[in-house]
Amino acid sequence: MENSTVDLSAIERVEAARTAHLTAGAKPAKVLARDVNVYYGDKHALKAVNVEIPDRGVMAFIGPSGCGKSTFLRCINRMNDTIASCRVTGKITIDDQDIYDRSLDVVQLRARVGMVFQKPNPFPKSIYENVAYGPRIHGLTANKAEMDDVVQSSLEKAALWNEVKDRLQDSGTGLSGGQQQRLCIARAIAVNPDIILMDEPCSALDPIATAKVETLIDELRSNFCIIIVTHSMQQAARVSQRTAFFHLGTLVEEDSTKTIFSNPKDQRTQDYITGRFG
């Protein structure tokens, strides 16, 4: 994309660092943000955010609308690159690798950091092709049988397999809203990312579909590092282990979900979760 010259050794370094961490059995921070500022043109959207997100488990970002939680989420896979006026300063690392490093390839980054959007956005293609798209562009499978396998297991992990296995060639846009969102999750899983970002994944869904997606998130947390932005405190309480509260572009407080909801340190957090504003 923007940086067309890619230092491939950087990718290898990331891989090596990751392997080293896993073999050492340490439980390091998966994502580390240091003094992250985001500007949209003149607007200072995110101010000096510092946070550590552990591997495996669900981290929830909560806060009132416009507080910067989605903006921060989109920094983690550099989706903000697609907005011309957006400028990011500070440092975000994944497995100790600076993702804003000039030598880092954003395409490779996004293969490791999956994303699920607010509104389900299946491609106007068949269900099968939707899931197969990621593995195909990254060359993750060698033949049709492997691809079938990946598609099936991804759909199974997304708890959608039983509902669609007889109509894999139907259009993805023909599914119900909840199914579409789970298809998008399956699509993200198929690339086998380490991290899955979810930007209010249930805000466009009805309660039953929401319940299914939440169950799914719960299932997935043992395999992935999941970061979810939500405007619903109940949802954060239900699905996450850790929660971060954003307000007016700053990260106010980050702690275990239990602590945040039962015993917040900051008055603003207290006010928000008790419904004084937001």
Partner: protein
């Protein structure tokens, strides 16, 4: 939260996935980025190629058009002979108008190069002038009869072939100074030029190379119109070489020599005109005359005003676009007064008043489809309905305007609707809230606010009409019309049709005039589009 879990296998089977070696992955990424670059380059290439097309189109036309904007004239003294112009001395306008001015211009040019004998040579000399030269003289005399009987100095228009020659279309030539003393046998008629033996060996060798071998019968090399022609300039005259031997050149005198005295080495020359006579529209005789007039300093080059002030003509040097411009103006006038009100009113109806029913649907579908009907079909409509059913006059701007109005109506309706739609409902509501009727709200408030947008659309529509040709061919606007039309039922032609008509003519001068007319047309189009953009930027309002 619970029902979905039950359908899930508790332990997910791991998907088979290839472990990709880092070098393979790296190669793959490199390939993907290469294809990314290729794709982007393709996009830029396509844009660049399109731009190149446009540049080629514009430059080829502008380069072609440039010669047409100037003309060559011979500045000569003309005796306005009273015996020819006004024999009875009454200064009667009809007499002045019908006099034989061509004989005066002919006489004038023969005084520039005296001593020309022989019919064909005289004809060649007088034929250098355009027939327009006599018309210009007539205009001068009628404007000021007091010049009758005097000698005046006035520029006279050359014919198109002379004009092209002077603009350098034909005349590439090389001159070799004489290498020996040359003796002419006579000053006029067919003469022989004699020099020392082998003086012309170089010429003979050149002729051999051009495929001319010695003719046994004539005992010489015979030159013809298929090879570059040779002219010897000697003793103030010119001789065309028809036969050549190693020491003699024979041929007709094109320009009389002053004497038969031997010309010294270097005082005469042999000129070779690269383009063979048979491949140009101008003869050696004419070239010699033109060069003579030129060396007398009697040729001027000026801006071709005539191109803008006269109507069509069979003579390229006299042809102009005034008739076409006036025809265009009349036609577009008819188009504008028809399609602007109808288009705007139709747009108001569809945007503001039309109920949602089948009739409205039909009208809308109709407008969208009409916008894409080939223009020539509108021509058929004009032919069948306006000419053959309503018996309106053929070739008239009235009918042309009607047809073009129908043609651009969809464009204007669509843009007017967009402009009206862009006016926010709050304006209507404010007016209606004050007790205005819906029509008052629309005509007093919405329409004035939408007007800049409507004008922009109208100008673009009119620009479209200005460039349209095909439907006008159908209704007979292709006639050869010399007179400038004065009203909407006169026979007329329009600029694009004039371009079409001229482009079909074989004369090179007409090709240049076609290109020049295109430059004028494009100038108008750019001006109109520029005006539309200016209007849009000036009045564009963001609600």
């Amino acid at each position: 939260m619970t029902d979905a879990t039950s359908t899930l296998p508790t332990q997910l089977p791991p998907a088979r996935r290839r472990a990709i070696p880092p070098d393979v992955a790296a190669a793959r990424v490199r390939r993907r980025y290469a294809s990314e670059r290729t794709f982007k380059a393709l996009g830029i290439g396509a844009l660049a190629l399109t731009a190149l097309f446009l540049v080629m189109l514009l430059t080829s036309i502008i380069v072609k058009s440039l010669p047409a904007f100037s003309e060559h004239r011979a500045v000569m003294s003309v005796l306005v002979d009273a015996a020819v112009v006004d024999p009875d001395g009454k200064r009667n306008a009809d007499t002045l108008r019908s006099a034989d001015y061509a004989s005066l211009t002919r006489a004038a040019i023969t005084t520039v190069i005296p001593g020309i004998e022989g019919r064909s040579a005289r004809k060649a000399l007088t034929g250098l002038l355009s027939s327009g030269a006599a018309d210009d003289l007539r205009a001068l005399v009628i404007a000021d009869p007091s010049i009758i009987g005097t000698t005046i100095k006035t520029p006279m228009l050359f014919s198109d072939d002379v004009d092209l020659y002077l603009k350098g279309d034909t005349g590439r030539y090389t001159t070799a100074a004489g290498v020996a003393e040359l003796t002419p046998s006579d000053v006029k008629g067919d003469i022989t030029l004699t020099a020392a033996d082998q003086s012309f060996a170089a010429l003979i060798a050149e002729l051999e190379r051009e495929g001319i071998s010695a003719d046994a019968e004539a005992g010489a090399h015979v030159l013809d119109g298929r090879i570059p022609s040779r002219v010897v300039y000697v003793n103030g005259g010119a001789v065309k070489v028809v036969k050549a031997t190693a020491n003699t050149l024979t041929g007709p005198v094109l320009l009389p020599l002053s004497s038969v005295s031997p010309a010294k080495t270097g005082s005469w020359n042999l000129t070779t005109y690269a383009q063979p006579e048979s491949r140009r529209r101008i003869s050696d005789q004419e070239i010699v005359f033109i060069d003579k007039i030129k060396s007398a300093g009697a040729i001027e080059r000026g801006f071709n005003w005539r191109f803008f002030t006269s109507g069509d003509s069979r003579e390229p040097e006299l042809a102009g676009i005034r008739g076409a411009l006036i025809g265009t103006a009349l036609t577009l006038f008819v188009t504008l007064i028809l399609c602007l009100p109808i288009g705007v009113l139709a747009a108001i109806y569809l945007e503001e008043f039309a109920p949602k029913n089948w009739l409205t649907d039909i009208i809308e579908v109709n407008i969208n489809n009409l916008a894409a009907v080939p223009s020539i079909v509108f021509g058929l409509l004009g032919l069948a309905v306006f000419l053959n059913y309503f018996n309106l006059p053929r070739s008239a701007p009235l009918v042309g305007g009607l047809v073009l109005a129908l043609l651009v109506l969809p464009t204007i309706i669509i843009s007017a609707r967009a402009a009206i739609k862009a006016v926010p409902p709050s304006i209507r509501e404010a007016a209606i809230g004050l007790g205005a009727s819906q029509q008052q709200a629309v005509f007093h408030h919405v329409l004035p606010l939408a007007m800049p947008g409507i004008m922009t659309g109208t100008i673009i529509g009119m620009a479209h009409a200005l460039g349209e040709t095909a439907p006008l061919l159908m209704i007979g606007m292709v006639a050869f019309i010399v007179d400038v039309p004065t009203n909407i039922s006169d026979a007329a032609t329009v600029l694009p049709v004039q371009i079409y008509l001229w482009s079909d003519l074989p004369e090179a001068a007409f090709q240049q005039r076609t290109a020049a007319a295109i430059v004028v047309l494009l100038g108008f189009l750019f001006a109109m589009n520029g005006a539309a953009i200016w209007l849009r930027n000036k009045f564009e309002r963001r609600w």
